[in-house]
């Protein structure tokens, strides 16, 4: 029974990973940029919500109405000031510049808030600990369920937006070929800035859930980046629904690993990541061989 509970909790944890990976995966899929400051920006959002709640008594969910648009503006600025210029220097420069940015953000947070860990849990009342009991041993936390629901709505919303709206189609077209879209009247610079703004708004939401479900400190960004990256790669980088699957795989692996060893939580997550990578390497070749054999057989 503990086994089933652990899997269930892992699935729900996967909802959080999908949430944090959403912006990273979206930016990578659309703009081909991996933003290494992604985790740090989520932590910045969590601190912003913490300040609103602590100093001004604004509840995190209401605070998000302020912080998400602000982070969207940050995304716009990030694209215009850093990513656009970096991308001109080749595919390596964005990695270096966003890593530099993450070091600046982490240490500024440390300077401003010190080493104490913070949490948004005290500001959301009983949502942080309430749960529905299914059996004596299995309970579903309300916050975890809400996280999963928000992840599904957000991923689905972005997918629909990309498929159905004019600007969504412009974003996908720009991802395909930024030079050619100019010929049909799309302003690629503007489209990329909008995409970055959307990505960072999702980062604000992820930051809110990071703060509500656990504690965070100024250097928590690196871990968030790594979890987001693992979820995105396991799910197939750039694919939004894949990101949800990736998050769930990561969450379940970690929950099961935690049963084996106290450090097993992290180790199992990383091993799941490498296992998927290795499988793709090996099965990819295997798949190629099958395809070649089949086409050979068909010709014969």
């Amino acid at each position: 029974m503990i086994f089933i509970n652990q899997i269930l909790q892992g699935v729900l944890l996967g909802g959080y990973y999908a949430l944090i990976a959403c912006g990273l995966s979206f930016m990578f899929g659309v703009m081909g940029v991996i933003n290494l400051a992604h985790g740090s920006l989520a932590v910045v959002s969590a601190y912003a919500l913490y300040v609103l709640a602590d100093r001004f008594g604004v509840e995190p969910f209401i605070g998000l109405c302020v912080v998400a648009p602000l982070m969207a503006l940050v995304g716009w600025a990030l694209q215009r000031l850093v990513l656009e210029r970096s991308a001109r220097g080749g595919i390596l420069v964005p990695v270096l510049s966003t890593f530099g940015l993450s070091i600046v953000l982490d240490n500024l947070l440390f300077q401003g808030f010190g080493a104490d860990t913070r949490s948004l849990a005290p500001y959301i009342g009983d949502l942080s600990y309430d749960s529905w009991s299914l059996t004596d041993e299995i309970a579903i936390g309300k916050l975890a369920a809400l996280t999963m629901a928000v992840a599904i709505v957000m991923l689905g919303g972005i997918q629909t937006f990309l498929n159905r709206t004019l600007i969504g189609r412009a974003i996908r077209a720009t991802a395909e070929d930024p030079d050619t879209v100019g010929l049909v009247g799309v302003n690629a610079r503007r489209v990329n800035a909008i995409a970055a703004a959307i990505a960072l708004a999702t980062v604000a939401v992820a930051g809110a859930f990071l703060g509500m479900r656990a504690t965070f400190d100024p250097y928590a960004g690196a871990t968030q980046l790594i979890f987001a990256f693992e979820a995105a790669v396991i799910g197939g980088a750039g694919s939004l629904w894949g990101t949800l699957v990736g998050g769930v795989v990561l969450g379940v692996a970690q929950s099961l690993g935690a049963l084996v060893n106290p450090q097993g939580f992290f180790i199992a997550g990383h091993i799941a990541f490498f296992a998927v990578l290795f499988a793709r390497l090996f099965l990819g070749r295997f798949g190629d061989r099958v395809r070649i054999a089949l086409s050979g057989a068909m010709r014969a």
């Binding site: 290494l36 850093v82 220097g89 420069v93 964005p94 300077q111 790669v233 450090q263």
Partner: protein
């Protein structure tokens, strides 16, 4: 312009002087422990380790185009391997080198998987490698989790001879790695590696064996970072996994390579010296020092991606080391024009 007046040259008067000066500096440095104060010897040992780290990251990124945020994996594993071997009874100084060799050997199979990742995915993928290596090292009872351990076998040496031996080990490792990278860049393989950085598909199309060339540089960079970690534990004596597997080490490497000059041999050395000086002046400022390092790396990445030495190379035809070839043409007016070629 007649063909007879054109010549391809590698050695120039400046590069002869530079190599001569480097030889003199090396001889002086080799006598270091008997000339310099104890404090200066310690400082120079640190500088040598920085040069190793900058050189190795620069080789990986500047020459091969592989940005890794996970070189702290090898730095930490190098230190751990030295401690592990010394604990098993291997003589302590040989264990520094042997440990680095083992880590380098292990990085070869790792490269087969990791090099399948491209660009930013490779960069963070290496970070995951570092995290996993950190967690696995913590499982060794010798390390005692985050509490860490120390290289107690070094206590067998008196502090004076320990200082001198560590210094010579660092100097030897730095000189050896500089020589390896120097020879590598002068060889046809060096040209192949830089071709991969500039355009992988084009390089492959003219017959460069991309996969094996990348693997070789990856392994060399892993060995070098492990060597740096092993030497660091010999100077610091204590080993706390969190301090060694910290991505800040990669941030330092990026800073040195980027500010000195990405993709230039001289730039790595210059970057290490600049970083060493900045750390000496501003290191005590703590958090603001780190903010400054990150901001400088960001500004250099955006506005001066070729760093200080790249700036010098772009504006003057100065090449201190005979690595590339250059074409010397006699112009119609009779003046000699330099055309550096890297």
């Amino acid at each position: 312009m007649s063909a007879s007046k054109a010549a391809v040259e590698r050695w120039t008067p400046e590069s002869r002087i530079a190599i001569g000066a480097a030889a003199v500096i090396l001889v002086v440095l080799a006598l270091g422990p008997s000339i310099f104060s104890a404090n200066a010897v310690d400082k120079l040992t640190t500088l040598f380790i920085y040069v190793i780290l900058a050189l190795m990251w620069n080789a990986l990124v500047g020459f091969c185009g592989l940005v890794s945020i996970g070189q702290q994996a090898f730095f930490g594993l190098g230190a751990y391997a030295a401690i592990r071997l010394a604990n098993w009874g291997v003589s302590v100084y040989p264990s520094l080198f042997l440990g680095a060799l083992i880590v380098g050997a292990l990085s070869w199979p790792l490269s087969i998987v990791m090099l399948r990742l491209k660009g930013g995915e490779f960069a963070i993928g290496m970070w995951v490698v570092a995290e996993l290596a950190h967690l696995l090292v913590n499982l060794d009872t010798l390390v005692r989790g985050e509490t860490g351990t120390s290289l107690i076998e070094l206590d067998a040496y008196a502090s004076g001879s320990r200082r001198a031996l560590t210094y010579w080990c660092a100097l030897a490792a730095m000189t050896g790695l500089l020589a390896i990278v120097f020879q590598l860049l002068r060889s046809p393989l060096g040209a192949a590696i830089q071709a991969i950085r500039d355009n992988e598909e084009a390089a492959e199309s003219i017959g460069v064996r991309v996969a094996s060339a990348k693997r070789l540089v990856f392994t060399l960079a892993a060995f070098g970072a492990a060597m740096g970690g092993a030497l660091w534990v010999a100077t610091a004596l204590t080993f706390q996994p969190k301090a060694y597997f910290n991505p800040l080490w990669t941030a330092y490497m990026i800073f040195m390579a980027l500010v000195g000059g990405l993709g230039t041999f001289e730039g790595a050395i210059l970057g290490a010296v600049i970083f060493f000086a900045i750390e000496a002046w501003f290191g005590a400022m703590g958090v603001w020092y780190l903010v400054g390092l990150g901001a400088t790396a960001l500004v250099f990445a955006l506005f001066f991606p070729r760093g200080f030495w790249g700036w010098v190379e772009d504006r003057t035809s100065l090449r201190l080391l005979p690595i590339g070839y250059r074409l010397r043409l006699a112009s119609p007016t009779g003046a000699v024009a330099d055309r550096p070629k890297t």
